[in-house]
């Protein structure tokens, strides 16, 4: 029975050695040979595609990408310089001044900004229906759960588009869109609902608390005006064709490939085209950014090469593989200027 005693001692020794190993690898972590990126879930599909292409080229390990959200990602990114901190942050908005200051306070003084392209949302409808021009304020009034009437928030009374504005068609409000789990829905909430809500001054008067107001702005009606349709875009197209008065919420890449079946509503008079998005004229779109820590270039292997891959024409160009994944590319000359400054690691100036 001595064996079981030995067994216990051996087990204890193993446990101890694991703990020691843990302590020693803390020192080993000083040298990392794999790029690490964190940040926005909207940029995640693009960065992972670039990472895979970069890894397949065979010179470096495939970067590890985490989807933490823009704010959380920038917080990790700005926590310091060194292998323990990520090299790259994906962001679906520009970095804020406060975040740059936070970065600088932790020694991250030089950051390179890559504007990789844009993300856009379309409100599209059947080719059979007459042209409609919308504004974000109208969209919000049509879809919010509660809207201000005589200074008070009440359950959305609008049944038809013409109830909101007599110039709009005399059709039932029906918008078919993605469920809350979708990234497209997040973008729609932020760009259409929240921005539209800000343009309705009565809301500010009715709800004083900023947090509560933001929540009310982004709450979508549940009485049939907004129909959740799963992630199958093709199914939404069928429904739009069957009901020409209805609208569908799509990502840009889908509309771009299906302009033969659908047309997208003008937003404040601006058409959804790649040019208008890139010029910042189309409201339901936003630029996407990738931030790189300059101090890590040359320390973590492959950072410059990764930037080169991300800005290469085969990735972000008009026929690039990121465009297949739904990215709206920057215009050609802007891309080229961005490429040069990114490869030279020109630091960001705010």
């Amino acid at each position: 029975m001595n064996t079981s005693k030995h067994l216990m001692t051996a087990a204890a020794a193993v446990a101890l050695s694991v703990a020691v190993l843990g302590a020693t690898t803390g020192a080993q972590a000083q040298s990392r040979d794999q790029i690490r990126a964190v940040g926005s879930s909207t940029v995640f599909p693009f960065t992972t595609a670039v990472a895979e292409a970069f890894g397949k080229a065979g010179k470096f390990k495939t970067p590890v990408i985490e989807s933490t959200g823009t704010g959380g990602g920038l917080k990790l990114f700005c926590a310091g310089v060194g292998p323990a901190h990520p090299d790259i942050a994906n962001a679906s908005r520009r970095i804020k001044k406060s975040e740059v200051e936070q970065c600088a306070a932790n020694g991250v003084t030089q950051i390179t900004e890559l504007k990789i392209g844009y993300d856009g949302i379309a409100l599209a409808y059947s080719k059979k229906a007459p042209d409609v021009a919308l504004t974000t304020a109208v969209i919000w009034k049509a879809l919010a759960k509660e809207v201000p009437v005589n200074g008070k928030m009440v359950a959305n009374p609008y049944k038809k588009w013409s109830d909101i504005d007599a110039k709009l068609p005399n059709e039932e409000i029906e918008v078919i869109g993605p469920p809350p789990t979708s990234g497209t829905r997040d973008t729609f909430n932020e760009l259409a609902m929240l921005e539209g809500c800000k343009k309705v001054p009565e809301v500010k008067a009715a709800i004083a608390d900023e947090k509560a107001r933001e929540k009310a702005c982004m709450t979508i009606r549940e009485d049939g005006g907004y129909v959740e349709a799963g992630e199958n875009d093709n199914l939404i197209v069928q429904k739009l064709n069957a009901n020409p008065g209805a609208f569908g919420v799509f990502g840009y890449s889908y509309i771009d490939q299906n302009r033969d079946k659908l047309k997208s509503a003008k937003m404040d008079g601006v058409d959804l085209t790649a040019e208008n998005v890139a010029a910042g004229k189309y409201e339901l779109s936003r630029p996407l950014f990738v931030y790189v820590k300059n101090a890590h270039a040359g320390v973590i292997p492959g950072i410059r090469e990764f930037i080169a891959e991300y800005t290469a024409e085969r990735a972000v160009g008009d026929d690039g593989y990121l465009v297949d994944k739904g990215l709206i590319p920057e215009p050609k000359d802007a891309r080229e200027a961005a490429r040069t400054s990114a490869i030279n690691l020109t630091p960001l100036q705010l």
Partner: protein, 421 residues
Amino acid sequence: MTVTASKSHYQSEEFARRLRGRYAAERNFKIAGIAALALASMMLVVLLTSIVSKGYTAFQQAQVRLEVTLDKAMVEERNYTAILRQALYAQFPQITDRTGKRTLNELLSSGAPYELEALVKQNPAIVGTTQTVWVRADDEVDQFVKGNFPRTAPESERRLNDAKIAAIDAMTAKGTLVQAFNTTLFSAGDSREAEQAGIWGAIVGSMLTLMVTMLLSVPIGVAAAVYLEEFAPKNKWTDLIEVNINNLAAVPSIIFGLLGLAVFLGFFGLPRSAPLVGGLVMALMTLPVIIISARVALKSVPPSIREAALGIGASPLQTVTHHVLPLAMPGILTGTIIGMARALGETAPLLMIGMVAFIVDIPHGLTDSATVLPVQIYMWADSPERAFTERTSAAIMILLGFLILMNGLAVFLRKKFERRW
């Protein structure tokens, strides 16, 4: 008098009614029990059917047969894409226009050139010869062959146009496009292209994580249980410890992830996404489970064993290590395996320490970046491509297989070594 009275009591109408009532109550209870069991097994059947019916196709993958001419100059340029395309165009001599050729190009997986490159690296002698190779087809082709994209839909609503479908049909008829066992699923890491994505990286990550968990939590847990059960005095302090251990067993797992983030990453500076840290966090999570089950197992060893050992002069430590612990081992093992099975299926604590990430490379050590099986399932379930739907279900089947294996082992060990008193 009393006899006749009681006899009349047992034969009375009222007694018979009460008896019928009691039998009815028992019958109803049994029916309710069977109904509950039937409902539970029906749910299980529905769950398994939906997973298996969606997932079994993922174990096959469409492959394309090509007669490639490995021209020396092209191999040196690493222009494997062109080599594959030439071989593909040779199968369709009638297609000469650009659009047609582009349609053909889309039939092959974007990973096919790398497959060919690996073949050449493995056997450099084939350069300059013509070889028959099988490469993976694109995931949309694969889904179409499996019937997941209906052929009857109008062309404008299909992911594949008529030209592509015609090419697929022609190749299927010639036998150059067939379904074969999907080895990639079991040998590759994650990928954004469904046909190149595999579960092996996650399996290795899970194994490394579980190894650390087991090496830490089993010895510490058993030692703690032995001390608390056999040696510790019964006082306020041990009561407090016991309450805390029971409490910890019920703490949501995300809390352990936060602890891991603060202590292992923040204080000790261990790398993110490492199975070492995942294992440490899981060890903290399973420790209370193991301590509790080990204490129960130790308690079930009859006191007579201890008294006999002490009676013939064994020291308390000898009593425990020679007699009590070996007898309690089957129970301890069962508890350990169930704790490990829970750790295998856990994702929440890993979110905080960076193991929920897109990781392509297969981990080779405890500090390499890695992910685990349930995380891989979550990531694939989130992917929009149709081919990931079946791969998600296939990954669930693999995870369920591991869980059944572990729980089966627990039952087997208990049956084999259990002693009844």
